[in-house]
């Protein structure tokens, strides 16, 4: 019997819709275990949870780096379960992505790193010359455009990464632990920049372990544990009791393999295991 294509009703204003999404890897328990989620245009959303909770898997699904095992994902009108490979580049041009480890090109200077993002999507040279200085001014790096990434501090490197992520004016900005490698002062600066970007209408989704920031910013907080959404609160906070103690669980995604230093209290300076 032929499978009937299920019609999905996307609520008005949604830029991200997940319905009953499962993601399993070859070994172990499913990374995502039937999650459903709506994110509207212009929202600022934190996704929090311990290692192994499925946060990074979720981000990778939203980027269409992974395909769901089951369920329905719609991002900006693109149905990511069925999207053809040839359409993925066009889809990704609507997204900005910021990683914990910056992922800058160390052999190129700040200007070239940001211009690279525009060149990749074939923006004309004249537009690049106009756009890049404006974005660098916005993130406060106008005077460091000639510096190489390794000559910059961690905070400055993340600002370059942020500039690169937003120079193509994405509809959604996905940030995977953007403050994970930063000291508290730099972490705050990055969060303020994210808020400014959000105020321009860009939807911002931030995966983070940073409890102080989450609690201080009073944004929507989605808490995940073992592949399911534990809570979804408007103006929420980081809830220890709900997340619980499952630090030592192995995660399928290497980006999440971080362990907290110290005991009991949460620290921003997490140490990568690999």
């Amino acid at each position: 019997m032929a499978r009937k294509k299920q019609a999905h009703q996307i609520p008005e204003g949604n830029v991200i819709t997940l319905e009953n999404v499962y993601k399993s890897y070859a070994k172990g328990a499913p990374a995502l275990n039937g999650i459903s989620l709506d994110i509207k245009q212009g929202e600022f959303v934190f996704i929090v949870g311990n290692s192994g909770s499925g946060k990074s898997t979720l981000i990778r699904l939203l980027l269409r780096e992974l395909k769901p095992t089951e369920g329905y994902i719609n991002v900006l009108g693109y149905e990511l379960n069925t999207i053809r490979n040839s359409r993925i580049p066009k889809f990704r041009r609507n997204l900005g992505i910021v990683f914990q480890d910056f992922r800058l090109l160390n052999d190129r200077n700040v200007y070239e790193n940001v211009a690279f993002a525009q060149r990749v999507i074939q923006v004309s040279g004249r537009m690049i010359q106009k756009n890049v200085p404006a974005i660098l001014a916005m993130v406060g790096l106008a005077d460091k455009y000639k510096s190489k990434p390794l000559e910059l501090s961690g905070g400055e490197q993340q600002r370059v990464a942020l500039a690169r992520a937003i120079v193509n004016k994405p509809m959604i900005l996905l940030c995977d632990e953007p403050t994970g490698n930063l000291d508290p002062a730099n972490a705050w600066e990055i969060m303020q920049l994210l808020e400014e970007i959000n105020e321009t209408g860009t939807t911002v989704v931030v995966v983070t372990h940073n409890r102080e920031i989450v609690n201080a910013m009073k944004k929507r907080v989605i808490t995940m544990k073992k592949g399911v959404i534990l809570s979804d609160q408007q103006y929420g906070s980081y809830i220890d009791e709900e997340i619980g103690e499952d630090e030592e669980e192995e995660d399928e995604d290497e980006d999440e393999l971080y362990v907290e230093q110290g005991t009991g209290s949460w620290r921003t300076d997490t140490l990568p295991l690999i």
Binding site: R92, L95, R119, S124, R164
Partner: protein, 298 residues
Amino acid sequence: MRISTFFYAIGQGFKNLVRNRWFALAAIATITSCLFMFGVMAAVVINFRHVVQTVEEGVSVTVFFEPGTSEERIRQMKVEIEEREEVSDVTFISAEEAWDSFKDEYLGEYTDGFTENPLEGMDNLEINLKDVSRQGELISFLETMPEVREMNYSAVTADTLTGANRLIAYISVGIIGLLLAVSIFLINNTIATGITARKEEISIMKYIGATDFFVRAPFVIQGLIIGFIGSVIPVGVLYILYSRATEYVVGRFPTLARIMSFVPTYDIIRIIGPACLILGVGIGFLGSMFTVRRHLHV
């Protein structure tokens, strides 16, 4: 595609070459040596074929007819034979022409004793073949003609030439295949190294929304450049070596030069040059396409 993107891809292709210059040099050196060997092999084969062709031109089938076969019927048969695929040309030699030619060649002035044509009834057709290996087919056909009394041909010569041609073809195909495989493997490694070195950059490009074409183009161009350089060098070297070698052989061994003539350098390069270029650029293109396709899934 924008023109700026085209130039960007070419620029990146050259940058990749410089970044992985040692691997690129290794790949160029391998393609150069492979194509050089191919060129030498091809030059030998072309010259051998040239010699074989000269010998083949001398191989013909002569057909004699039963007494009483009219000249008109013989001319009719000539047309039938000419229509066959394996036949290059057919010449009718009448008994008179045969005798005249014999007289001129062997008797000179001493023909007084002959009042009649001793070759009476020796009208014949001399058939030259396009392809010596198909001599058997022609003989079988001629045997079906009741007017044919006798045929002169050399089966041994035809078989030897056919066998030699086949052997050369097999050896050439074998060697060329081997060289191509080695070259593609090396290009593969060069591009794979380039991709590993730029893995981070490629993954960022893919996240930002670069098309596969945009990501692939510089690597494919890199492969094409390697292939192009790797084909131009051996053609240049072959040109110099071949002209010197033939000059040397002709000067040093005049007897050999009298028996066989070498194919001129220009004719050799006219064949080997484009072949090397197509092979080199083709190897570069295929090698890079295979590798890029395998490594660019992000």
